[in-house]
């Protein structure tokens, strides 16, 4: 049976010079789930991952994999597969030789290299120099390297960068399959729509701080779009049933805190015709922007308050 490894960040703080890049960050990533790690550029996602992988030292707190620091793991690539830098290859070395170098260090048989080259779709170009690979091919090679030791944990920083739509779909299927087998999949991305399709859970950070975490399904309970010729009647009905209802600029209703099928049932019972009833597209994006903007607004308010106090 594959051992299960949760990732745990406990009050991790990381500073570069006078700048705090990760600030008292605490959260947990569960095995058997795909957890999306979200945040705007410069939020501290990559830094947090580097601390987890002992590539950077924390100024406070600790990050562990199955209760142990990365450096304490016996043969770490057998436990954690990593995609961190999209260009961490010697351009003059072939893809196959890149994997051979890693396989030597990890102690993986040659047959596994061939198996992985085929799995990631590089079977025909394994002998080509990596310098001649497209970004998508390098991402696939990075994924092959991450899977080399067949690890029960995957830590992937923007693995979808440069992949074409088929590649994105292949990656999604691969990660979902691994998670179904019990692998802990922790994947950072700025492609919110992709994370929405891929992840079970999300961890959102902004300016190094945790701003939201939880199951996507729970976090998205606000995102239903409803169109009806009787918006005010439906609004009243749904509000009475406990939903939060807002009108949008395009004439639709935005309903939160009520499952989509319950909205349909209420409309049916009230004899209200519906022209649209759908999960709001890009609702994770809206939530994300709400979390990040909210965090910044709260920061601005705090700063303003501090300034007032100082005056």
């Amino acid at each position: 049976m594959t051992p299960m490894h949760a990732l745990r960040f406990e009050h991790v703080t990381k500073r570069y010079g006078g700048t705090t890049v990760v600030r008292d960050l605490s959260f947990e990533v569960e095995p058997g789930r795909v957890t999306g790690f979200l945040g705007p550029n410069g939020a501290g996602k990559s830094t947090a991952m580097k601390v987890l992988l002992d590539l950077a030292s924390a100024d406070g707190g600790r990050a562990t994999i199955g209760g142990r620091r990365y450096r304490e793991l016996e043969n770490p690539p057998r436990t954690v597969g990593v995609v961190l830098e999209p260009n961490a290859f010697h351009p003059g070395r072939s893809g196959r030789n890149h994997l051979r170098v890693l396989a030597d260090g990890v102690g993986v048989p040659k047959a596994r290299i061939e198996e992985l080259l085929v799995l990631v779709g590089l079977g025909d170009v394994g002998d080509r120099h990596v310098g001649a690979y497209s970004l998508g091919m390098r991402q696939r090679l990075g994924l092959a390297a991450a899977l080399l030791g067949d690890p029960p944990v995957l830590v992937l920083d923007e693995p979808g960068n440069g992949l074409d739509p088929q590649g994105i779909r292949w990656l999604r299927d691969l990660l979902r399959e691994r998670a179904a087998q019990g692998t802990t999949v922790f994947v950072s991305s700025h492609l919110l729509a992709e994370v929405e399709h891929l992840a079970d859970e999300v961890v959102v950070i902004n300016r190094g701080r945790l701003v939201a975490t939880g199951a996507i399904a729970d976090l998205q309970d606000a995102g239903i779009s409803v169109r009806t010729p009787s918006p005010s009647q439906l609004s009243t009905t749904l509000r009475e049933a406990g939903a939060t209802v807002d009108s949008t600029d395009d004439g639709a209703l935005h309903v939160r805190s009520m499952p989509i099928e319950v909205i349909g049932d209420h409309a049916h019972r009230a004899g209200i015709a519906l022209h649209e009833l759908s999960a709001r597209p890009g609702s994770l994006e809206e939530l994300f922007l709400g979390w990040v903007d909210g965090d910044e607004t709260s920061d601005a308010a705090q700063t303003q308050q501090e300034e007032v106090v100082r005056v």
């Binding site: 580097k50 950077a56 290859f89 051979r100 260090g105």
Partner: protein
């Protein structure tokens, strides 16, 4: 066992790019220059006195100092480019105990540097011997001379490679690492000798000449120790540097 796997990975890393072959090509050019010098070069009086005796020929064909310099550049480039290409990330992910990873890399550099030293000395001796015979002179080196020159070149290159490796780990920038290696092996020694004449015995070129059997400034044992220190001290500084700082 794990450490031996890391050494094997580092050896494969060095062997799967063109860099060693570029250095072998440079060695071929150097041997061709040696042969040309024998064929058409003369002393100031127009004679071939520079290859007249066994000592002259030994001095001409001793490759140790060149080997140390060349391998120093090889080591500096090999380690610094890990940072340039980002391959230091998978290296330290495979072995987060950085001392083990770095020591495996330095051992691989020692081995490959030593091999380059053997190739360089062998090419130079063959080119020199053939060209000496071509101008109807006798090749005067004994088998013992040849073995000592090749062994000295190999050792000099091996320690030169880890000196360069230490510079690469310390500086992390390829140009900077090459500069540090050149500074340590070529520029700094004569300056130090200007300040302290006695130091002349211990600069790289002198100790390598003693090991090659060309110089007699100190004993062979003392020269070997000095040669080892020229490689090991910068290497140890490099290993110490990577322990403390963030990889990326």
């Amino acid at each position: 066992m794990t450490w031996l796997r890391l050494v094997r990975a580092e050896l494969r890393k060095l062997g799967t790019t063109k860099m060693p072959w570029v250095f072998v090509a440079v060695l071929v050019v150097i041997s061709a220059i040696t042969a040309t010098a024998v064929l058409i070069g003369t002393d100031a009086d127009g004679s071939k006195a520079f290859i007249a005796t066994r000592e002259d020929q030994r001095s001409l064909l001793a490759f140790g100092a060149n080997a140390m310099m060349g391998a120093g550049l090889f080591g500096a480039i090999a380690v610094a480019r890990e940072y340039a290409h980002g391959t230091v990330v998978p290296m330290f992910l495979t072995s987060p105990r950085r001392g083990r990873a770095m020591s495996a890399q330095l051992v691989a550099l020692f081995v490959v540097g030593g091999l380059l030293g053997v190739v360089g000395a062998a090419l130079t001796i063959v080119a020199g011997a053939v060209s000496i015979v071509m101008i109807d002179r006798a090749f005067l080196l004994t088998a013992g001379d040849v073995i000592r020159i090749v062994a000295a070149s190999s050792l000099a290159a091996a320690f030169g490679a880890i000196l360069g490796g230490g510079a690469g780990a310390l500086v992390r920038n390829t140009g900077g690492a090459v500069t540090v290696a050149v500074l340590l092996l070529i520029i700094a020694p004569p300056l130090v000798v200007q300040l302290a004449t006695d130091a002349a015995t211990w600069v790289p070129s002198t100790v390598v000449n003693v090991v090659s059997g060309v110089g007699t400034e100190t004993s062979l044992a003392a020269a070997l120790v000095a040669l080892a220190l020229w490689g090991l001290v910068p290497a140890a500084i490099g290993v110490g540097a990577v322990q403390r700082r963030d990889v990326i």
